[in-house]
C-alpha cells in the first residue's frame, strides 16, 4: 500500500521498494528486482533495516540516535544523506 506521509516520501524510498531489498549482516544489500547490489556501512545498514519496518523518519531517527549514541539531529541528517544515496543506487 502506498505511504501517504509526505515526510516519508521526502526522505525515504517507497516502502515496497525498501521492503524488497535483501540485506546481510555484512552490509551487503541486493535489490532482487533490478539485480543491483551495494555495500552499506554500519549506520547505513541500521537505517535501512529500521526503514524496512518503520516508515516514520522521526521514529527512525530516535531509534538510530539510541543505537549509535548520537543526537536525533545528527541521526536525522544521516538519514537524509543516506536517503539521497539510496535514491541514486536504487531505481
Amino acid at each position: 500500500m502506498p505511504d501517504d506521509n509526505p515526510a516519508t516520501r521526502r526522505t525515504l524510498l517507497q516502502p515496497e521498494t525498501l521492503r524488497r531489498l535483501a540485506t546481510s549482516d555484512t552490509g551487503f544489500v541486493f535489490d532482487p528486482v533490478t539485480g543491483d547490489s551495494f555495500s552499506a556501512n554500519g549506520p547505513a545498514l541500521a537505517i535501512l533495516r529500521l526503514a524496512q519496518t518503520d516508515h516514520d523518519p522521526r521514529a527512525i531517527a530516535t531509534a538510530l540516535a539510541r543505537e549509535f549514541d548520537v543526537t536525533e539531529t545528527t541521526a536525522e541528517r544521516d538519514i537524509l544523506e543516506f536517503a539521497g544515496v539510496l535514491r541514486r543506487v536504487i531505481a
Binding site: 535483501a22 541486493f30 532482487p32 528486482v33 533490478t34 539485480g35 547490489s37 531505481a91
Partner: protein
C-alpha cells in the same frame, strides 16, 4: 533401463558470442538422470563442443542450414542410423525453420522435438515483433524493415534520430550514430545474414533477460530472469545475476500466451528509467546462459525433455541473487580427434555406447 539419445546443436562456443548447445548439454548431464546420452551436432570443425567428450558420447557435422531441409534431413538420417536419436534440441535460430518444416519426417523417424509451428515461429520474428508486442500489451521500440541504404538519410525526415540500432535477420546488431555508419552496418548485416535488415529506435536503460519454456497452450513454464552484470564486445552476457521482477515476468507471460509459444525461448527487454520494459527480441531457443537456469534450481533443458515425453515438469523457486560468471577454458584435442571431425565429419568418444 532404456537409454534416450538426445541430439543437441549449437556447438559453437566462441568466447565473445557462444552458442547455447554446450550449456544445454551441461544442464542435461547434471540434471540427475542416468537414462540419457548426448550427441552434439555442429557445423564447423572448429566448434569446441565437438571435442567435449565429458558431455557427449559422439559429435557430428551437419550441412549449414542454408543447404536446405533436404540436406539437413539426409544427414540427420545418417546420424540417426548410427545413434538412434530419440529427440533433438535445436539451439540456433537459423536452423529452427528447417527443423519445424521437417517435423513430419522427424516424427516418422521417431525423433521428438518441442517447437512451435511455422506460423507461431514467424510471429516472433524480428520484423513482426511489434505486432506480437502490441497484441500482448508490451512496449517495444519502433522497428522498420530496411530495403536499401537510402533509409539512413531519409529516416530523419520520418521522425527517427541517431543513434539507432541496425539488426540482422537472425543475429547481430549494431548501434549506429550517423547515416554512414548505418549504411556500413546495413551492408555488413545483409551480406552476413541476408534480408530483412531491420532498423530499431534505440531505447536506453538496463537489459534484462528471461528464459522459459512455452507449453504451446499459452503457459510459460520455469521462468528464470537475469540481469547482465558484464558483457562482451558483442553485448553478450559474461556475468549475470538472477532477479525476480514481477513486471518483466508478467510481460513475458503475456507474450508467450499471445504467441501460444511452444518450446524454449529467451525474452530480451530494456527497462527504462521509468521502469517500463521494452521488448527487444524473443529468441526461439535456449540462450547461451541457460546453464544458469540449472544453477538457480530450474533446469530448463531437463524440463524440456519432460514436456517432450508428456510429463509436467516441476520447478523449485529460482535462487534470486545467485550469479554466473563465464571464463575461457582450453580443451586439448588429440590429433586423432580433429582428424576424425575433419575427415569423417564425426567423432565418437571412448566408452560411448550407440
Amino acid at each position: 533401463m532404456s537409454v534416450l539419445t538426445i541430439a543437441i546443436t549449437g556447438m559453437n562456443a566462441r568466447a565473445d558470442n557462444p552458442g547455447p548447445g554446450v550449456a544445454v548439454a551441461r544442464c542435461l548431464v547434471e540434471c540427475g538422470r542416468d537414462d540419457i546420452r548426448l550427441v552434439g551436432l555442429g557445423y564447423d570443425a572448429l566448434e569446441p563442443g565437438l571435442y567435449l567428450g565429458d558431455l557427449f558420447d559422439a559429435t557430428y557435422l551437419l550441412p549449414w542450414p542454408s543447404a536446405g531441409k533436404d540436406a539437413y534431413l539426409a544427414h540427420l538420417r545418417e546420424i540417426h542410423a548410427i545413434e538412434h536419436v530419440d529427440a533433438i534440441i535445436p539451439c540456433l535460430d537459423a536452423e529452427i525453420p528447417a527443423c519445424i518444416a521437417s517435423g513430419p519426417e522427424l516424427r516418422a523417424m521417431g525423433i521428438r522435438t518441442f517447437l512451435p509451428d511455422q506460423a507461431g515461429f514467424a510471429m516472433r520474428s524480428k520484423d513482426r515483433l511489434p505486432e506480437a508486442a502490441e497484441a500482448a500489451g508490451v512496449a517495444t521500440p519502433e522497428t522498420r524493415r530496411i530495403s536499401g541504404p537510402g533509409f539512413f538519410h531519409a529516416c530523419i525526415a520520418e521522425g527517427w534520430s541517431y543513434p539507432l540500432v541496425v539488426k540482422g535477420a537472425f543475429y547481430d546488431a549494431a548501434i549506429v550514430h550517423t547515416p554512414q555508419q548505418g549504411i556500413a552496418a546495413f551492408e555488413r548485416l545483409a551480406a552476413q545474414w541476408g534480408h530483412p535488415v531491420l532498423a530499431q529506435k534505440l531505447v536506453t536503460g538496463e537489459e534484462f533477460n528471461l528464459c522459459a519454456v512455452g507449453d504451446g497452450e499459452g503457459g510459460m513454464l520455469g521462468a528464470v530472469m537475469m540481469k547482465k552484470r558484464a558483457v562482451t564486445d558483442k553485448g553478450k552476457g559474461w556475468a549475470g545475476v538472477c532477479i525476480a521482477d514481477e513486471a518483466l515476468h508478467d510481460a513475458a507471460a503475456r507474450l508467450i500466451r499471445t504467441l501460444k509459444w511452444r518450446g524454449p525461448c529467451e525474452v530480451e527487454a530494456i527497462r527504462d528509467r521509468a521502469g517500463t520494459h521494452h521488448l527487444i527480441e524473443i529468441n526461439p531457443r535456449f540462450p547461451a546462459w541457460v546453464y544458469f537456469t540449472h544453477g538457480v534450481g530450474r533446469n530448463l533443458p531437463a524440463a524440456l525433455l519432460d514436456l517432450m515425453w508428456g510429463r509436467a515438469p516441476s520447478f523449485a523457486p529460482a535462487r534470486v541473487g545467485s550469479m554466473f560468471i563465464r571464463y575461457a577454458h582450453d580443451v586439448i584435442v588429440p590429433m586423432a580427434g580433429f582428424e576424425a571431425v575433419v575427415t569423417n565429419g564425426s567423432h565418437t568418444f571412448a566408452g560411448a555406447t550407440p
